[in-house]
Structure formats: structure tokens, C-alpha cells
Homo-oligomer: 65 residues x 2
Amino acid sequence: MSVKTYTVEGMTCGHCVSSVKEEVGEIPGVTGVEVDLGSGRLEVSGDVTDDAVREAVKEAGYTLV
Amino acid sequence: MSVKTYTVEGMTCGHCVSSVKEEVGEIPGVTGVEVDLGSGRLEVSGDVTDDAVREAVKEAGYTLV
């Protein structure tokens, strides 16, 4: 288990933050998700691959930088 | 019954548009709602007061110009 940090591009409001949190939170093995709208910072706690996070962010409609 | 046009300030993405559509659509007497994200244009069909529209837009988290 670890905390991984990413940067998400394209979020413009709180709804966008919620969408990312929801999709990333549904990845098996994820135990926590924090998102900062201003910086695009995404912190994912748990046991998860970068590919899974990238896919979930894409599913929400955004892109990992 | 009529179509009234307003301008909404603060919408940044499709989620924002959905929020405004939902809140305004719940006003008694409203029969149709169209929102354009780019211009902020809000068209409300039905029998409704400006105050009710203003309140619904505020409830969604935005402001009528």
C-alpha cells in the first residue's frame, strides 16, 4: 500500500473533482482518493497500477499529464 | 406560456449545465430548459417568474447576470 500522486488535466469545477474521485475510488485496491481542483493534484492511496488510474481518469473525462 | 431568456454566470463544464437544467427544470410550470455553456444562455419555456428562475440558478450554484 502506498500513496501515489498524479496531475489531472481538464477539471474546471467541483463536479469534475467529484467525477474523478468517483471513478478512481471504484478501482479495486484503492482505499482513498484526494483531488485538488486548483492544481489538478490527484493522490491515490492503496495498491493500484498507474494504468488503472489513467484509465479511470479517462473514464471520468479527463487526462493524466 | 412563453420562452424567457437569461444569462447564467459561472458555468465551466457540462456538469454545471446539467445542474442548472435540473434545478430550473424542477420549478413548477416549467416545460422546457435549454442551456448553452459557451454563452451562458438559459432558455426557459413555460409559465414561470424571473424570481423563481433566479432562485433555482442560485440553488444550482450559479448567478443570473
